[in-house]
Structures are given as C-alpha cells and as structure tokens.
C-alpha cells in the first residue's frame, strides 16, 4: 500500500466509535436519547440538550450533495498533487451535513442535490476514511 501523505485524523475517546466503524466499512453517527437530535461530528456531549444520553446509530450512508467546489489549488502535500478534486458538504438522510470528497466520478459531473453514498478508503492499518461517490 502506498504511503498516505494527506493529513490523518487524530482519534480521541469521544470519536473512536466513529473511526472504528469506518475501519469496518460502517458509517456510524450519533443520536441523542433525550432530545432525539442527530449530531455530526461526534461529540461526548449532545450539543443540543447538553446531556450525555448519546447513542451510536448506523447511518444509511446515503445523502445528497448540499454544496461543493472543485478545488484547483491547495499547497498541502497529498492534495497539491490531487487537484482538481471535489470538496463537498453532503447532507445525510438523517439530516446532518458532513464534509467529504466526492470520488469515483468526473469532478464536472458533480451537482448540488446529487444522490451519493459512502465509500471507504483505507489510509493505513489504523485509519480508514469515509468518502462519497455517486449512487450507482
């Protein structure tokens, strides 16, 4: 496997379940048992009602492109050689938005509202990163 030269996430106690899920090919997000709100990114506290009654739930892994940009310039190693690439905000079926890249398609085919689904790329033996691709 080639060395991953993009920035890697740092995993903390409150986000470990998410990243463990990614390693298994599952997109796991949080829902509060007290107020029933979903939240993303994962936290140790429900950001809405401030309780800790959070449960981890499987996302459908599907959503729509809320917005995107085709990036032509980024000096960060790993991305500098990747341009042009699509940076996007995807709104999951559960109603929360997450940053991602839309991959496995021509950047110029990406549209707002496009149906997308999660796909996982192994960065190294410890970390797998979720991306999105057009629904086939």
């Amino acid at each position: 496997m080639p060395e991953w030269n993009k920035p890697l996430p740092t995993i903390a106690g409150e986000t470990k379940v998410f990243w463990d899920g990614c390693k298994k090919g599952e997109l796991i997000i949080q829902k509060c048992d007290s107020c029933n709100d979903y939240q993303f990114y994962p936290r140790g506290i429900c950001s809405n009602c401030w309780t800790t009654d959070i449960k981890w739930v499987h996302s459908t892994g599907r959503g729509k492109v809320w917005t995107y940009t085709i990036t032509y310039q980024n000096r960060t190693p790993g991305f500098a050689e990747d341009v042009p690439y699509v940076l996007a905000l995807v709104e999951l079926d559960e109603g929360v938005k997450m940053f991602t890249n839309i991959i496995e398609c021509d950047p110029k085919e990406v549209k707002i509202g496009m149906d997308v689904e999660v796909t996982f790329v192994k960065a190294n033996n410890f970390i797998t990163i979720p991306y999105f691709k057009p629904v086939s």
């Binding site: 993009k6 920035p7 890697l8 996430p9 740092t10 995993i11 903390a12 409150e14 986000t15 709100d37 979903y38 939240q39 993303f40 990114y41 994962p42 936290r43 950001s47 809405n48 809320w66 917005t67 995107y68 940009t69 085709i70 990036t71 032509y72 310039q73 980024n74 000096r75 960060t76 190693p77 790993g78 991305f79 990747d82 690439y85 940076l87 996007a88 905000l89 109603g95 929360v96 938005k97 997450m98 940053f99 991602t100 890249n101 707002i112 990163i129």
Partner: protein
Amino acid sequence: MVNLNHGAAIVGIHEHQTRYAPDKSELQIQGESVIKALEDAGLSKNDVEGLFTASSTIRNSGLNLADYLDMYPKYVDNTTVGGGSFEFHLSHALTAIAAGRIKCAVITYSSLAKSGGISVGTGGVARFGHPRLDPSPDSFEEIYGLTTVGLYAMIARRHMELFGTTSEQLAEVAVAMRRHAGLNPEAQFRDPITVSDVVNSRVISDPLHLPDCCVITDGGGAVVIASPELAKDCKQTPVWILGVGEALAHQGAGKRDLMYIAAKQSHGPAFEMAGVKHSDIDMAMVYDSFTITVIETLEDLGFCEKGEGGQFVSNGRIQLGGELPLNTDGGGLSSNHPGMRGIFLLLEATRQLRHEFEGTERQVPNCNIALCHGTGGALGSRHSGGTVILGRN
C-alpha cells in the same frame, strides 16, 4: 441595558503604509502604528489603559505587545475570531469605557503574511506547518483538503444554485473594489479591471476566480478609542460609536443552514443601539475576503433580500457615486489583506467620517453615518460577524 450609543469615540487612527515589509517584525509594525495613532489623537503612551489585539502568528499577542512597547495596561483583550476580530475589540472597548473601567483603549494589528510567504487562502492545513490535527473539528474536515477559498467557494456555488447568482455578478464586486483602489495611492493593485477580465481568469476553487479572492499583503494599523470626556480634548473630530453587535455562526452540529451568515444575527442589535435605519447609512465597509462574502453580507445585514445580493452589487450601486459606496479604500480585494483585515474597515470608515478626502473623488459626500461589518473564519464552516455603526455626530 446601559445605552452604549455615543459611549466612546474613535479619536486616533493610523494605517501602516507598507504592503511588503520583509525588514520589519510584526511587533514593530504594531508599535509604529500605535505611536502614530496616538499622535493623530493628540494623546500619549500614558493615556492608554486598554490594549486590544489579535494575531494568528504572534504567540501571547497582548502580553508580547505590552512587553515590546513597555506598557502596563489594566484592561487587555485578545479576542481572536478571525479577520473580523477588530470589530469585536471595538465593541468590547466601548463596553469597558462606558462601564468606567478605562478611559482610553488602543486596538492594533499587523501581519507579515506576504513576506512570510503564507498561503492564506490556498495553503490548506499546511499553512499551519502540517501539525497533528485536533480530534475535532479538524479531523473531520482537514482530511478532505479544505482551503479557505474552498470554504467560501462552496457557499458561492450554493448561492448560484438557489438564487441564480452569476460569476459576472460576483465579478462586479471585484471591479468596484479595483476602481476604488485606483483612488488609493497605497493600494496593492490599482489598474482597472473589467467583469470579463475576472470571469476569464484562472479558477482557484470553482466558482471563484483569482480576482474573486483578496490579495495577500503585509501591513498593520491602530485605532485609539476614548471616553466622551477625553475625546473632547483630542486633536481630531471624534467619530462616535453608535451601535455594535457580535455573533458567531457554525455548522450547528451539522444542522444549520450556513447560507445565512453571522451578519444576520449581529446587525439587528447594532442598528437598534444606533437608532438608525439602513437608508441612513452613507457608506459601508464590508469585509471582502472574497466577492461572495460581500454579496452574502449585504443580504444578511438587510440591505437587500436574501438571494438578491448579486443584483444589488451590480450597476455601480456599491461604487463611489452609487447608492451605497463600499470599501472606498479598495478593500481586501485590491488594497490590502495582511492575514486579517477587520481593523482596516474601522480606519477607512473613520477617514470618510472625518471627511479626510473632501474635494476628491474618494470622499463620500456628506458622509455622516458609516457601517463596518467584519467577518472572520470561513462562511462554509464557522465564522464570526461583528457589526459596528459609526457616526460623525
């Protein structure tokens, strides 16, 4: 609440002329600016009781600045919420003065973004030296190659999709700022450009072209704020603080619609405190990190309906001679943008309210009330918005 309208005034200003200063330190630029701004006010070092500064590069910025200038302020505020930090500082200085804690405050800023080779807009996380990412939010964002330009481009893309805003309308903002820069001998770029120049130039992050993005310069400045009593003894016509409002906006745990920006929350309190209407505003200084920033800010400040910003900025409305002259120094898009630009909004608004350009094309005629709105951070992820309304009377 205590009425803060007219609770303090801007009595001294200085904008450092430099746009490129590889031979200076950031603290030196701040020091030179503070000294000149106090001179402008007719005040001295011993008058300064409050020190306000923000920096993305100077460690312990307030502490190190006090050390550098051998000052012992009794009120210190290093609120750092991105480029618009200085509108927050002004708001806080007003509050401290109105509460009687201090009589005189200095706000200052400097940066060597250009000579330091900092890729403010397109460096991505590398601009911070590729550190270990924070577990959140960075670990859920920077892994996807965010750039500052990209985070604004995403908002521009959705604005186009929802409201039919065009690249040509975005370009109108860049063209207006360049025209104003032509009247400012210190501006970084002064040659006129056309809408066609902008839309035919290189795309940095779709749909934003290079001229849709602010310039990168060195620079700095300072603002002196005084109590009404002290202002009477100052050399310059005081520029009164009429109203202030502060707000933050973020993803709201993935649920907020960030097409509505912090200006939507911050402008109401500022207008209410000032007791003025939109039609009373003679000129505005709107943080122009990118052309889309101006369009979204004008909408969420309430100068036009949501979605109509593209039409609003067209046909010369935001140019000198238009209905709402904007960024008459040439803005961040053409004059200067040393990492953060919020302080320069206060400086140009003060010059206009002092009628410093009387008899020239740059002066907004009969300029009595000006609005500044600073935006810091990024529209697409999280940002601050600080609204300030200033008046000559």
